[in-house]
Symmetry: D3
Subunit: 195 residues, 6 copies
């Protein structure tokens, strides 16, 4: 179970409203490479990791991704706070406003709701960890796209932090994947065919 | 952000494998009235609650629903542990096994992956809280359906606990909804039209 | 079965083309809180209402929601009639036009097609009616969002009428829900656990 | 708008519970070639039919398809009435029961919820009517599949009636399509390119 | 199996960047009436065509539709090559860019990913071929919509070629459908009920 | 463009009908880790590979995956050929039969239609190739699951061949990924941030 600690992992204090950036950044909430899909991926995959270290690793990173979900949601909320209907129409965000008002709802940048089809759980630790490497690389890429779309340092600081965390997660997953590949004889019964 | 505490909110110790029950119970993981949809609903809706008490209420219940996700995932995992391919075919669970092995993946009982279309965030606290009342009632109903499908006390105990928590959440949401309806004059600017 | 009566429940006569408003209003056709999802919700839920009065109530409101579907479709059609390609591109409606021309197709404001995942049928009348209360509150909210996006009285009049109908439906559902909650002993067999 | 007439278009009186047939027949409610998708297809396409006769034709057939939705829902309800949990598990219908109890919810035979992606509205009457021909042929095919899965005359009679209605609708759509193809010079402005 | 021949079926050489047109044209890649849905429809339906000629026809047209997928993907790629972030934001294509950068991904014009729900395989050749007629008519319509949205001859030439191919496919499907309808006595066993 | 060569990449000659295996194997057609999702992933990602070698590699493997789609479709078709309605009901394949008869339609083992949400195109070659590594590992896993569900050598031979091809593709993708990571200075402009 989880305990809530009322603070963000990294501070989010955006002073300038930017409806267009809200629209793009929301993809890291509800999009295919977003933080919520990542959290759900790891927190479900952990059950079939072959060692306690693996279960702990996925629990740990999955829990951190929940904190990233909260950071992104806070960014979206701050970026849109107090927008007028006219501003929403100009920024083409009135489509989102129609259904969600100033609420925070997990869609991608085009407005498509999150689906679990974005991630896989196969029960095979090699396959799942390789998917996790890909997830981190893809999330990194989306952060890089977002960072080319703004010059606002209040936005860039948390995006940069989050991007850096993906790189660190990538290396942690890679290290564990290498470790279990070298131990594969021990898991032969469960995972017959290692590449 | 969240801190992980390595224990379940309520103990899950299922001694007897039951693949059919796993197939039904998984709906409370990835189904329309399941715990994951509930957690995501509350943790996203909290941003537009009109008082700190409301934000705290939704954070608190949302966080508890994450713990319920973990309980259900544990139940599914324990109910299927060590199943042979022949058993999976007989219980018609080999469809799930094909894609997910013995992993835990959020689908409903028919195998449809979770979608955020199962819940709403409207930015209006009255509407969102009424949806929360419905969510708790619907989750209660699904637990009652599940409880008619088994006699195993190891399964019934956590299901009964989870059902009871939904009832308690319902009353907590109702109490807060009544409170903000009586304060609605204070929120007039943001929420023009109260029913 | 239904008989078609060739008139609208409330007149729709929009004189001024407004492509942006068409794009937002279409969410009440094919969006999560829209009239079509509402009609389908009630017309399916009615089979398991515990009394004839309940079945009649859901049939009646479900049938009226079909009339609202028709009003919204007419609004969308009138708001876009005769638009030129250049106007469509400027209003960012050429995305819709590409696939649907000047046809009327049930999507939300972001262009996501209607899915039955937007509503639930649980077979439990308490749960289903609580969902119906939520549906009416959420639809009311979306109408209020839409009404902030325009000053055109030709658009505001039917929106205001439709919003008001949601409020009336809400109270009719609430009245019936209160009635069956007080009768719950009679339904004990079918619905074991009342909150 | 529509008026509800409290009778079915064709009588449905199924005396023998048959959970497996309920599971298959529900596809004509919520499946890709089902009655609900058909009703929604025609009732939305009607706005861009080029003549009053065409608008009336699609309204008329769309309204009849709503009556077919009601017949199929009634069949599903009668086929499952009074099933015990054990019977539901044996017939592999407890997956559906978990989420929907004895309620009627629009899914296909595999449990996938209805989506508007099953039908198209293009704004071009030639394209839309050709899709309507296909819809009727596909619905006919599914009725034929269903009729090979049972010998119960109580089930076969309404299925046979519904299949026959699809054939009649096919011919009505074909007749109108031929008529507007011969008039295509009159519509040149709107529909530049006829095949 | 297929062999790749490194050339396009028809040349695509677009000299002028046009982000808005890319956004619309991508619907013929991943949209409901697009080339990819068409290719998948025919290449799956071919297995149940009643004669070798039919199987060959669907294989042939299905293979050509794959070549059209490649043409559309090339158009999208050329139309967006070298766009700056500022240009992407102005053309409202930064939503797509956020998730996909300058990659080519199958969505419709509103950004909804391709789903197999866009096409049907019923196993009945009459039904499947009627759906194929509809598919060609609907694809033709979308090409006509696209051709009204641009004056650029570099874009119009391939669109016009692709539209023309749909017309030819329509006539090839119609010819074969007429042929098998006249032979229907031979297929009586498999297809009991011809309209 | 592609040329069709009327032969399978590897022979498929299944002599014994096996409806249950058909139901599981179809996941490699329309499921999340299936051959069709793989083919579409590579054939779309190829546009943004940084060298001609990369574009050729993805075209080549993507084209081979199309041949695998054809092998799987043939397996499904042969495994179900001539099934009676009673056999379909016993094997719980009558749900599929209701909608698709003996046709071949891309769903996963639970009957969920293919969606492009199963794969990503990010425009970043490092991210896309890491996803490709994951795709090959996940497909391998599903083949291993399928191989535990049958003893029929007619089924095992093509499954084993296909599994082996995934391993080979994995190594080809890895080799190319290593190559471009070492060349990353040359691509600095386009891909600013390499991990």
């Amino acid at each position: 179970m989880w305990l809530y600690d009322k603070k963000l992992e990294f501070p989010v204090n955006i002073r300038r409203k930017d409806l267009k950036m809200a629209k793009y950044i929301i993809s890291q909430l509800g999009g295919p490479e977003g933080e919520l899909a990542a959290a759900l991926r790891y927190l479900h995959q952990r059950y079939t990791m072959p060692t306690d270290e693996g279960k702990a690793l996925l629990t740990d990173i999955g829990t951190e991704e929940l904190a990233h979900v909260e950071m992104i949601a806070t960014m979206v909320y701050q970026l849109t706070r107090g927008a007028t209907p006219e501003e929403l129409k100009t920024a083409d965000l009135a489509t989102y406003y129609t259904d969600h008002g100033d609420g925070v709802y997990p869609v991608n940048a085009s407005g498509v709701p999150l689906t679990a089809a974005y991630f896989s759980v196969t029960g095979d630790p090699i396959a799942d960890l390789t998917e996790d490497l890909a997830a981190e690389q893809k999330a990194r890429t989306v952060y890089e796209h977002l960072m080319t779309l703004t010059d606002d340092p209040d936005i860039l600081a948390p995006l940069s932090f989050l991007r850096q965390r993906e790189v660190i997660h990538y290396h942690r997953f890679l290290e564990y994947l290498n470790k279990i590949q070298s131990m594969k004889d021990q898991f032969k019964r469960a995972y017959l065919f290692f590449i």
